[in-house]
């Protein structure tokens, strides 16, 4: 039996209170649709909880009957009293058993629901276009998979049952009181009504305030992540405390908003709490009761049930207040989860086809990230099996974007990309990934053992195969130096240097053994020793495959079968190294710039202190080139 004081007014503890139900409406109502798989169990739990709530009132009724018997004309003996005592105790036990069963059932149902939802979300995320993930950041995903699913837990496993309990018990209590003395029973409803009135006044405009609260909390979270991740920058650039202004501003804005909100609702929310407080309700009932008893309108014994059950009649206020926020938060969470689940995925082929051979062909390919500026426009390109094609061009010219179309990280905006004569969009994902491998410049190792990182593309590869690839990638020796060799877990205490990580990622690509390989020239972070090893590793990897290389240094690719110069998303030149040099175009200018600015001539012999005039000229060429 709950008669805890009500607590309207801001409750920041309500798990994620952002934007109460302001998301787009999806039919059927998101909350009900999400709960569908466990609806049966939840309904049983609700039934059990109602029984528990009713049984919880019975002991008080039994005590009231005892009071009635004891104060009756003929004093009651034990035979009249003990059955009531037994009834009080046993109904208490029934309440306990049913309530526990209801809670357990709801929790277990919710537990299944959580796992199912998280899995569904994860599956869906794996099919979203990458652009959607980079645009909205990883925050959205984490919010949905973790916080929002937990908000649903609060709703289904706790709030639902609390609300059932708090609505059933007072009804029975009031019904009983009406049979005892109906005028006083009506009075016992007054605090509840007054409380509801005051509470609704306190909650005026709460939806807007809650949305603002959620937004303010969101700003703090973002600012906190930024503050912590950028701490090095803030410490070294923020003279005084100016640099972490955004975090301070977010927190102060929040504190100000919260104080203002509290102040504006303080009087009515405090009054709402006090008016249903047990002591106040008891004062009202005993004062009127005293009046009634002294006037002989009722007996003293008839007052006893009111003092026992009266506070319970007013109790719903106390529980419903905070629960309203939980319900809103749950609804908002359901909306966000549903939105993510309904976000369009990369379309699966309706008419899947298997590529014939490994010839890659791009025709009229355009791509835009934001719908405004084309990163690629009208690109035609062929990669014949077993050939090496190099993409060169200034940074931002679209090299990485073009390469990312092959493993279908993005779909073209216009034009087609075909592999073995089949449009990439018609190739089932598993078929595509068997054929196209990728070594990214930004090496990503997973928090898993070294062996499992290498095995990423072929989970069933044997230890011997893993080791063979590690040797070929020149990383075997380093692995054996790790505390647990191939079983060493990466990412917690052991981290690899950039060069080592790159060699590991090459081993990974070697094991996956895809006939088409996209390589981002990956030596930028390596020291000279690593660089030599990486070269050996890449040489092993490149043998016999169709290669598309994103090159940052021209010397890397001078003997490629074809060099493609990309500028502003267009192919401006292509051909062999010698042809392009002879053409004296953009490539020739780039080549010259790289080989006069650096310490090496093209034959690799060091030469010191290049004439400043030479460097100056190269720089001018480049500026002319980009100003073209």
């Amino acid at each position: 039996m709950k008669s805890q004081p009500p607590e309207p007014g801001p409750d920041p503890a309500a798990p994620d209170t952002a934007a109460g139900g302001t998301g787009t409406r999806v039919t059927p109502p998101p909350l009900r649709a999400l709960a569908e798989p466990v609806r049966g169990r939840l309904a049983i739990a609700v039934g059990l909880q109602a029984v528990a709530a009713l049984a919880g009132v019975v002991p008080f009724i039994a005590v009231s009957r005892i009071a009635e018997r004891l104060t009756g004309e003929s004093p009651a003996d034990g035979d009249a009293l003990w059955p009531l005592v037994v009834l009080a105790c046993s109904s208490g036990l029934v309440a306990l058993v049913c309530g526990t069963a209801a809670g357990a059932l709801a929790h277990i149902a919710d537990n299944d629901l959580q796992l199912a939802l998280r899995r569904r979300l994860a599956r869906h995320i794996g099919r979203l276009p990458l652009g959607r993930l980079t645009d909205r950041g990883t925050g959205e995903v984490k919010q949905a998979v973790q916080e929002d699913v937990s908000a649903l837990h609060t709703l289904f496993a706790h709030t639902l049952l609390d609300v059932v309990a708090v609505l059933t018990a007072p009804v029975l209590a009031l019904a009983y009181l009406l049979t005892v003395d109906w005028p006083l029973a009506l009075v016992s409803v007054v605090p509840l009504l007054l409380g509801v009135f005051l509470f609704s006044r306190a909650m005026t405009g709460a939806a807007a305030q809650m949305a603002e609260f959620g937004a303010a909390v969101g700003r703090i979270s973002v600012a906190a992540v930024e503050f912590a991740s950028g701490i090095a920058v803030f410490k070294s650039f923020g003279r005084g405390h100016r640099a972490h202004e955004r975090f301070v501003r977010a927190t102060e804005g929040f504190a100000g908003f919260f104080s203002g909100w509290v102040r504006s609702t303080l009087v009515s929310s405090t009054a709402a709490i006090l008016v249903v407080a047990p002591a106040v309700v008891l004062l009202l009932l005993s004062a009127l009761g005293a009046l009634f008893v002294t006037r002989d309108w009722m007996t003293g014994a008839e007052l006893v049930p009111f003092l026992l059950l009266g506070p319970a009649v007013a109790a719903p206020m106390g529980v419903v207040g905070p629960r309203i926020q939980q319900i809103r938060a749950g609804q908002a969470a359901a909306v966000r989860i549903t939105e993510l689940l309904h976000a369009p995925t990369l379309p699966e082929p309706t008419d899947p086809a298997v590529p014939d051979g490994h010839h890659i062909s791009m025709r009229g390919v355009s791509f835009t990230y934001d719908g405004r500026t084309d990163v690629l426009s009208g690109v035609d390109l062929d990669l014949a099996p077993g050939t090496v094609t190099a993409l060169v061009g200034p940074s931002g010219s679209g090299k990485s974007t073009l390469a990312s179309l092959l493993p279908r990280f993005h779909d073209v905006t216009a034009g087609t990309v075909t592999l073995g004569g089949v449009d990439l969009r018609d190739i089932p994902a598993t078929e595509l990934y068997r054929r196209v491998g990728f070594v990214l410049q930004d090496v990503r190792l997973l928090r898993a053992s070294v062996a499992d990182n290498i095995r990423l593309g072929r989970p069933d590869a044997t230890d011997e195969e893993v080791e063979r690839c590690a040797r070929a990638a020149r990383v075997h020796e380093r692995i054996t130096e790790l505390p647990d060799g191939y079983a060493t877990e990466l990412g917690r205490t052991v981290t690899l240097s950039g060069g080592e990580a790159q060699r590991l990622s090459i081993a990974r690509a070697l094991l996956a053994d895809a006939p088409v390989l996209v390589l981002d020239e990956a030596t930028a972070y390596a020291d000279p020793h690593s660089e030599a090893l990486i070269q050996d590793a890449l040489s092993a990897l490149a043998a016999g495959r169709t290669l598309l290389v994103i090159a940052h240094r021209l010397s890397t690719v001078r003997s490629a079968d074809r060099i493609v110069v990309l500028e502003d998303g267009r192919v401006t030149e292509q051909g062999g190294h010698d042809d392009l040099l002879a053409a004296r175009g953009r490539y020739a200018a780039l080549w010259e710039a790289q080989h006069t600015a650096g310490p090496f001539e093209s034959d690799g012999t060091p030469h010191h202190r290049p004439a400043t005039t030479g460097t100056g000229r190269a720089a001018d060429d480049i500026r002319e080139g980009s100003a073209r």
Partner: protein
């Protein structure tokens, strides 16, 4: 829990908390007294002369009124202390973050810190209003009622006194059990949160290797483990939660049965029995509010403990009498460094630096080269005092960095990091953070030197381009140029470039190398680079190997000497970007 609140609030927040505690305790005791006064009221009404009720009723009314006043003040006080809590905690966390050595911020701690400063502070700010009050009420109101029972019926009071420790023990026991289970569950939740992030961030590589949700077992394992931990919490925690409710119902049943039998044997009057039962219902109701607040209290306590732990983390010692560097030279004398815990580096036992001594003269360029893991970045971190040395001293302008005020040191040293961090905002915001009041021509010259001007020219929105979350919308090379421009705009006399150009293409790197050479006329430069092209023109080259300086001199000296540097140089000549002719043989 109250202790933890005081701990995180610190001295400035303790006064409002004192006041709040007094108000809440007062209200709880008065509530108990008010309930107790109900007894004579009911006894009189059940007795032979109900008209005697009015004095008792007036006392009851007075007490309820006083309770209402205190409770009202306590309620508004709860909200006030709540917002004080958020204000104070956010400020203390921000200050603490700036005081802690940067070395403290490992990846895990950074994530933990942002969780604390973000959601967690918001979660605990409701503690004073929504958790503290029920907690105090559940202790003091029943205690008052037990005392009052002594005046009513000593036997009942004694029974209650015997039951109280039992109830308390049951409550504590189930609380401790739940806390233990919570910990296991927290770990599972943390793991699955990490895996979700890893899975999302690594979509490109996972897809390239055909591992979507069905294929990436680690994520599914983590999700299943989280669900299992929840199941375990339900299965094991349920008896604990039920046991307290069961115990309170048992106490009620016991006293009901005892009261009825005492009445039957004539040792308890009917009015007193009934008044006792009303009191007992109030008592159990107040005790139960503790159980209801239980889960919230546990979570709040865990969170407060984590907040307290971060706030109590010892900050960098600050100089008592700060000194100002005399010039812009840098001197390391016998510097040794090792990580004091295993969290930052795999090789905890091995010193990273050992007996490193060198000097960077004012207005000169020094290059620091060496294999990965030789400690080059550590040297940079020590100069900027992101960490303190384990042995030896770092001096700037002749003054030990530990004796230079933090702001002064920051003004002297500008560091361009290997990992560039940009915050979500425009390019201009990110550059201007170094000098918010910089004139347009200062901004322009920093942009020209760093090559950022060419990035700006290529972007449709120029300076106003939004860089996205952590700079994600820019390429690595673009980010790096923003960070170089930022460091140049700060215009500190000492500039440390730690692999600052690793992500630049060769064209831009060559241009920047040229700019660096002109900078050496004005600044003390330390350049850490793998690419020897940047290094060739340095006034002094230091080779760092195995934690110590093994060679020093100019490029020509070192090549002639035929040591490590020379072999780097030769290997470099072979490797100079991998070549595809090798690939095709």
């Amino acid at each position: 829990m109250i202790r933890q609140l005081y701990r995180v609030l610190g001295p400035e927040g303790s006064r409002p908390l004192n006041r709040l505690l007094i108000l809440q305790s007062g209200a709880a005791v008065l509530q108990g007294v008010a309930f107790a006064l109900l007894v004579p009221v009911l006894e009189t009404l059940l007795g032979t002369d109900p008209d005697d009720v009015w004095p008792w009723l007036s006392a009851f009314a007075g007490c309820v009124l006083a309770y209402a006043v205190l409770q009202g003040a306590a309620l508004s006080g709860g909200f006030t202390v709540g917002s004080t809590l958020s204000r104070v905690l956010h400020r203390r966390l921000a200050d603490q973050a700036l005081r802690l050595p940067l070395g403290w911020f490992t990846a895990g701690r950074t994530a933990e810190f942002s969780r604390l400063a973000g959601q967690n502070v918001i979660q605990v700010m409701s503690t004073p209003a929504h958790l503290l009050r029920p907690f105090i009420t559940s202790l003091l109101t029943p205690a008052t009622l037990v005392v009052a029972t002594f005046f009513l019926d000593v036997r009942t009071a004694l029974v209650l006194l015997v039951c109280a420790p039992v109830l308390f023990a049951v409550q504590q026991g189930s609380g401790a059990l739940m806390r233990r289970l919570d910990l296991g569950r927290d770990a599972a939740i943390g793991e699955s949160a990490d895996r979700v992030l890893e899975y999302t961030r690594n979509q490109p590589v996972l897809r390239a290797f055909g591992r979507t949700a069905e294929g990436y077992g680690a994520l599914d394992d983590a999700l299943v483990a989280e669900a299992r931990a929840d199941r375990r919490l339900i299965a094991r925690g349920l008896p604990g939660l039920v046991s307290f409710t069961f115990a309170t119902r048992l106490v009620f049943a016991l006293l009901l049965a005892l009261g009825v039998s005492w009445q039957l044997d004539g040792s308890l009057t009917v009015p007193t029995l009934l008044a006792l039962l009303v009191l007992l219902v109030r008592l159990i109701d107040s005790v139960s509010s503790a159980a209801e607040a239980g889960a919230g209290l546990r979570i709040a306590r865990n969170t407060l403990e984590r907040l307290g732990a971060v706030l109590d983390e010892p900050p960098f010692p600050r100089p008592a009498e700060p000194k100002t560097p005399r010039d812009a030279s840098v001197e390391l004398t016998g510097v040794g460094f090792r990580y004091d815990d295993g969290t930052a580096d795999g090789d905890a036992a091995r010193p990273v630096l050992d007996g490193v001594t060198f000097r960077l003269p004012e207005r000169s360029m020094t290059a620091l080269v060496g294999p990965s893991g030789a400690g080059k970045s550590t040297v940079a971190a020590l100069i900027a005092r992101f960490r303190d040395t384990t042995e030896g001293t770092v001096r700037i302008g002749g003054v030990d960095v530990r004796e230079i005020a933090a702001d002064d040191l920051a003004a002297h040293v500008s560091l361009v990091f290997q990992d560039v961090y940009l915050f979500d905002g425009s390019i201009e915001d990110n550059v201007r953070i170094a000098a918010p009041d910089a004139a347009p021509d200062e901004l322009a010259s920093a942009a020209a030197l760093s090559g950022l001007d060419r990035v700006i020219a290529e972007l449709p929105d120029g300076w106003d381009t939004r860089v996205g979350e952590a700079g994600a919308r820019l390429s690595g090379g673009q980010r790096q140029r923003v960070s170089i421009a930022r460091a140049l705009l700060k215009d500190a006399p000492i500039l440390v470039l730690d692999e600052a150009t690793a992500a630049l293409d060769q064209e831009n790197e060559a241009l920047f190398a040229e700019a660096v050479r002109t900078l050496a006329d004005r600044k003390t430069l330390l350049v850490i680079a793998h690419r020897l092209s940047t290094v060739v023109h340095a006034d002094q080259i230091l080779v760092l190997e195995g934690g110590g300086i093994t060679e020093r001199g100019t490029h020509d000296d070192l090549v002639t000497a035929g040591g490590t540097y020379a072999s780097f140089w030769q290997r470099r000549a072979r490797a100079h970007g991998w070549r595809l002719e090798a690939a095709r043989t």
